[in-house]
Assembly symmetry: C2
Homo-oligomer: 338 residues x 2
């Protein structure tokens, strides 16, 4: 199967590294044969319909140059859209940065790929937040496969779970700790009693929080994930604006410690059911599957048979996200028979 | 697809109830058409190759009679093996009680079904504990489908997960709180400081512990599950005797409370990796995904990409177990195309 990578930052490089590392396993044990035929970054593209040498591609990624500058035959200035249109490829992996405002440029990349009959795997929340139903309809109309496990919970196989093994269950509610940065901050406040600002700046120094942490601490990132989950599992047709959002910037260490002393933890929780779409700080009893610490994420699905199933894992990181991307790719490969 | 139920106690009735309840959903939305053509209990069988009326079958289950006594045309004294051999059926659901000593009668039922080209779904740990590799080989040789999600963790979709969405990941270790009875006892000792014997007898009164709780509290049930997980995920060829087992009967409330005061919980944990196979009480930090309370079960898979993924849920109960059984049945249906 010929694969095009749109976006070759941390995630694209992480996926390429995993494809290289797992090539033998995938071919010999799983019977999955993949070739990267194009990789695009902000400076241009490198393409080879016979398959790009992944080691060279990774060297380009680790260099200060764009892939087009670093590699022989690189095409400076060639856009993702041109590559999607012109390179013969079965599957497009869309890994550009998320815009929750208009979903671009990912939304256009995904729609164009589908219209050309190419399967799509993405880690990009933006297109799903702004146009979930439109993309699902386009998927149906074009008959391609479209998977987005990496958009919520990094390595946590939430989508595969509910649509695979638990396909006899009906999901009525999803509750989750869906943002590692805020969970890290709340955990340290609870354990050490340090003030919000101090923990936030230490988290920034350690790389656990972005320089501009607004999307995380104000709950917007969690709300984007709640939007995707509500559309995917509850067949709702909702947008980001439909979510009631409150962040954690008003939470102090007195609250987190008092909570802990009385057997609770304060967590930033997103909830979606048939009535409610909300994100806000909540008291979760210690020992509840959502009361996980540090940068862990955790999602509870309420269903009619299993009652409650929770998945916990690392919600971010290029290698963890590669687990979700590779799982999606392998599943598409098997579903379409290569 | 024609389905034979071997065993019609709590689990068999729970599954029949769910099949009735979900019939419309399964047929109209999932495109899955199932008919129960035989049900066998200790007193005989009822068979109908045109499909048994599930409501009548459930009435028989709720009565004091065996199915053969209660229903017209019931065949008193007909054995499971006779039904497996003589009734035209695509799938056998084996739900007889577990024997961890010789795996019987389930082992013979499963082998005979496979040899006759019938797919098998089971909740019975016994056959897998005593003959995992033999059954896997028979599955390969006969080309039938064989699924056993319900043997470990009730509704928790552990097997479907690792073999489905996470199929790109390689699992190196499994750690789990795999027994709800012991987790309930340890949680109450930790929270209330009540002695082991008191909590155990209350658990027995409430139906959370068996009259003879030895298999649970001595860790044997957990060891059986560890054996299955090690064979299934780590490609080890191990038996129950290979597991080092220590139970919880020597744990007192002083230990559980001291642990809690220092930020830990005492849990009965099973561990399987390439070197180790063990079950015993361990200190788990509060906030760890395994530090779940009450009768919850929780399993952490260590993998090369996702690092650690944990699934938490209810490990027992007829309805929860039906989630796993139905998931297996639906997946077989889809895999073989009905």
């Amino acid at each position: 199967m010929k694969v095009t990578l749109i976006g070759f930052g941390n995630l694209g490089q992480g996926l390429a590294r995993v494809l290289l590392e797992k090539e033998e396993y995938l071919e010999k044990e799983a019977g999955v044969f993949l070739e990267i035929v194009a990789a695009v970054d902000s400076g241009g593209a490198v393409t080879d319909e016979g398959g790009i040498d992944i080691e060279e591609l990774l060297e380009a990624g680790e260099s200060e140059d764009t892939v087009a500058e670093y590699l022989d035959g690189g095409e400076k200035g060639t856009s993702a859209l041109e590559v999607i249109r012109n390179v013969d490829s079965d599957l497009v992996v869309e890994l550009t940065p998320t815009s929750i405002k208009d979903g671009e440029p990912g939304l256009t990349h995904i729609k164009e790929s589908m219209n050309l009959g190419k399967h799509v795997v993405t880690s990009n929340k933006g297109p799903l937040v702004v146009a979930f139903q439109e993309l699902e309809k386009l998927r149906e109309d074009t008959g391609v496969e479209f998977r987005y496990s990496a958009t919520v919970g990094g390595a946590m196989p939430i989508f595969g779970l509910a649509k695979g093994q638990m396909s006899g269950d009906s999901v009525s509610e999803i509750r989750g700790v869906l943002n590692g940065t805020t969970n890290y901050i709340l955990t340290r406040m609870s354990e050490e009693g340090a003030p919000f600002d101090v923990v936030l700046s230490e988290a920034q120094e350690l790389g656990f929080a972005e320089e501009d942490p607004t999307l995380d601490i104000e709950g917007i990132d969690t709300a984007a994930k709640v939007t995707i989950l509500a559309n995917a599992f509850l067949e709702r047709n909702v947008k980001l604006d439909d979510v009631d959002v409150e962040g954690i910037s008003r939470i102090g260490p007195k609250v987190t410690q008092l909570a802990r002393d009385t057997g609770y933890e304060v967590k930033l929780v997103g909830v979606a059911n048939s009535d409610t779409l909300e994100v806000g700080p909540k008291l979760i009893p210690s020992g509840d599957p959502l009361a996980v610490k540090g940068s862990l994420n955790s999602v509870t699905l309420k269903t009619d048979l299993a009652k409650e199933i929770t998945i916990t894992g690392f919600g971010a990181g290029p290698r963890e996200t590669s687990s979700a991307l590779l799982g999606d790719i392998v599943n598409i490969y098997k579903s379409v028979g290569g």
